[in-house]
């Protein structure tokens, strides 16, 4: 009997053919994402759009109360970019952020390595301490640190005097901008290290220990093992943490406001405090919005640069 053969079909050989179930609807993934996207866009897009619109208006207290809108074009931007205070505050902010990020990454790396090598009870103690520091709301941490550094009643002065580091009994940490910056760096780094440390610890757990053993057998010192083996493997995590840290440490506001209010002599005013002073205190909402837009563009630019580096890495 001659059987009628089906015409040959283009089928991959060596693979069992099974009809693939068609998805219920092509739009389902987007429908599932829609509520979340609507929430994020709703809470972000409206304020950002208002801020951009405000930056082109002259909005002061009288305008706010009488609900008038006066469009002034790029006048706010021109005023900001020619303001000497802005060009003092900007490098100060970037310098502060760079210092904080460097110290955070260093301390975070140290903590992560410690977590990896420590015994179980020590690891538990350290990670609990890190999580507690991380969980403290930012402004509560700032207020507590301010009291710890108080010149009359602070525990830092008391401990330093008792430990014999000198006579710190009425030493005021907030008398000069440099000293105040040192305190601010302590507060910001204290709040930032837990996240970095725990993320890097997670990264360390993914590194095969055989690589370290091989490197040590080859005669590498601890530093070379870290720099040549661990760091390249963790580089993507470092890039992400660096980007996040730069963004967070540039935007820093509660820590500065609750400890120094931008003093002494406006010496610790950074972008966050500057915007607050212009907007909330002086009621120059249009000007403050212009500075905020500029800061956003700066941060987007910085992040873009790092994201590009990351993209090139993964290729």
């Amino acid at each position: 009997m001659t059987a009628v053969l089906d015409p040959p079909r283009a089928r991959p050989t060596g693979r069992a053919t099974r009809p693939r179930p068609r998805p219920r609807s092509k739009a389902l993934p987007y429908l599932l994402l829609a509520p979340c996207a609507a929430g994020v866009l709703g809470t972000l897009a409206w304020p950002v759009a208002t801020m951009v619109a405000l930056s082109f208006q002259r909005e002061n207290l009288a305008d706010l109360v009488t609900r008038t809108t006066t469009w002034v074009g790029p006048a706010n931007y021109r005023h900001t970019l020619t303001d000497r205070m802005f060009w003092t505050v900007l490098p100060r902010t970037l310098g502060f952020a760079a210092t904080c990020v460097a110290l955070t990454l260093l301390a975070g790396t140290g903590c992560a390595l410690l977590l990896y090598r420590a015994s179980r009870p020590a690891r538990l103690a350290l990670s609990s301490a890190l999580v507690l520091a991380w969980a403290t709301p930012v402004f509560i941490g700032a207020v507590v640190w301010k009291w710890m550094f108080d010149s009359e009643f602070g525990v830092v002065n008391y401990l330093l005097t008792r430990l014999g580091a000198g006579d710190f009994r009425h030493h005021s940490w907030f008398l000069t901008p440099t000293s105040a910056f040192a305190v601010l760096i302590v507060i910001v780094v204290w709040g930032a290290v837990p996240f970095v440390a725990l993320s890097l610890y997670g990264g360390l757990l993914t590194v095969p220990p055989e690589l370290w053993e091989a490197a040590r057998v080859d005669g590498g010192s601890a530093w070379r093992v870290f720099w040549r083996v661990t760091f390249p493997l963790l580089r993507p995590i470092y890039v992400i943490l660096a980007v996040l840290s730069v963004v967070w440490d540039t935007k820093v506001f509660p820590q500065v406001w609750f400890t120094t209010r931008g003093g002494p002599y406006q010496g610790t005013v950074m972008l966050g405090v500057y915007i607050y002073n212009q907007g909330i205190n002086d009621s120059r909402f249009g000007n403050a919005s212009a500075i905020a837009v500029l800061m956003t563009l700066l941060l987007v630019g910085l992040s873009w640069f790092y994201v590009r580096v990351l993209r090139e890495e993964s290729r």
Binding site: A62, S172, L175, P264, Y265
Partner: protein, 417 residues
């Protein structure tokens, strides 16, 4: 449960939740007018305010008064947010330095043509603080100024007699008190570096001023003038002789310093005497006050105080004006005077006694901050406090600090809208 039953249950739950959420909305007003009054902390005693409200609701049946007490810190943000909203409070107590910028922005109701008691004899300082371009926006509520509060027991122990009448005498007495105690932390008169309202009195004492306005409307800082610099130098010398207070603190917590025995004298408002006595019972009968002496005669005092304002966007403007009239009327101003605040009218000076009378006498020579709508910006930028701190800590000389402060003041006061 089957698929259909589950869907039906979900739909029913959702419907019930929506109904419940909608139900809690508008509470019935039922024809009652509610007057929202915002008062500041530590001003009029609560019992007095309750009396006023009782009298008001009796005189205006169908109204309810809701009082909210605001903290001094962060009051600006609360006012701005409320005034920009749809339901601003009807009556607000504002510090006399606050009224001007809000009046200029159009947020406050014009009260010029309303009737108030004792208008002809209102304290000039408070009336000026509440007037903008000839119109009344803030009705004088009460005044307050600072006196020197001292401990009688420490005074007697140091063998001192009558209160000093010149600054030099006060400096000498403070040194004697410090020596009688002997502790390195003890201040004869505790004077923190950033205490601007007490420190700037020294400038006015020698005939200086903070800033003046020229005919063309521009402000000029006057702190670098000879008279003002002399005043600041007097202040710096006084500080080093009499006080062990830190240069970078302001007057917050000054009552605790006196109460805990770290000082024999402080400069504070008269009502603090009762408050310190209540907080530290062992000092209850040991505190008294005298007017701060200047180089020649009493030192000019900063005339603080509050004004009552009505918001322009409030729904009950007539009721608000009526409430303000009642609160600032003779009866309750007399009660305020007996409670330790300065009444708003010179005709009520008989109502004050004791330390409040000392305060009132000291207020005959008073000063006020420059009448600019941007003065609160200067305050928020801490220009005066920073200058004082720099001088007190020795970081800048008087001349440099005064010059820098003048530049900043002119920058801020002469800035555009």
């Amino acid at each position: 449960m089957s698929h259909r039953t589950r869907a039906a249950a979900a739909a029913l739950t959702l419907a019930l939740c929506t109904v419940a959420a909608c139900g809690g909305g508008s509470g019935g007003s039922r024809g009652t007018a509610q007057l929202n009054v915002w008062l500041m902390k530590d001003s009029a005693p609560d019992a007095l305010v309750a009396d006023v409200n009782r009298a008001f609701t009796a005189a205006h049946p169908g109204t309810r008064v809701k009082v909210q007490i605001l903290d001094w810190t962060g009051r600006d943000v609360k006012w701005k947010t409320a005034l920009a909203g749809d339901h601003p409070p009807d009556v607000m107590e504002m510090g006399n330095t606050d009224v001007l910028s809000y009046a200029a922005s159009g947020a406050l109701a014009d009260l010029t043509h309303r009737t108030f008691d004792n208008r002809a004899s209102w304290l000039t300082g408070l009336t000026e603080a509440g007037t903008y371009q000839g119109k009344l926006y803030g009705v004088p509520y009460y005044g307050g100024d600072r006196v020197v509060i001292y401990r009688k027991d420490l005074w007697q122990r140091a063998g001192l007699g009558a209160p000093p009448s010149t600054l030099a005498d006060l400096q000498r007495d403070a040194a004697a008190l410090r020596d009688a105690d002997g502790r390195p932390d003890f201040s004869g008169l505790y004077f923190p570096g950033r205490y601007q309202y007490a420190a700037l009195s020294f400038v006015y004492d020698t005939g200086g001023r903070i800033a003046t306005r020229s005919k063309d409307g521009r402000w000029h800082g006057q702190l670098s003038a000879t008279a003002a610099q002399q005043g600041l130098t007097n202040w710096a010398n006084f500080l080093h002789a009499a006080s062990r207070a830190p240069a970078d603190k302001d007057e917050t917590g000054i009552d605790d310093v006196l109460g805990q025995g770290h000082a024999a004298m402080i400069i504070a408002q008269g009502w603090q005497v009762k408050a310190i006595g209540a907080k530290y019972p062992q000092l209850a009968g040991q505190l008294d006050a005298f007017a701060m002496p200047g180089t020649a005669g009493p030192m000019p005092v900063f005339l603080g105080g509050s004004n009552l304002t009505a918001s322009a966007g409030g729904k009950n403007r007539d009721l608000a004006a009526a409430w303000i009239r009642l609160m600032t009327g003779t009866k309750y101003e007399t009660a305020l005077g007996q409670a330790g605040l300065l009444p708003n009218s010179t005709s009520l000076s008989h109502a004050v006694s004791g330390i409040t009378a000392t305060e009132l006498r000291a207020a005959t020579r008073s000063w006020f901050t420059p009448a600019s709508t941007h003065w609160s910006d200067v305050d928020n930028a801490s220009v005066m406090q920073d200058m004082l701190q720099a001088i007190a800590s020795g970081q800048k000389s008087v001349a440099t600090a005064a010059k820098d402060a003048d530049t900043r003041v002119e920058q801020i006061l002469d800035a555009g809208a």
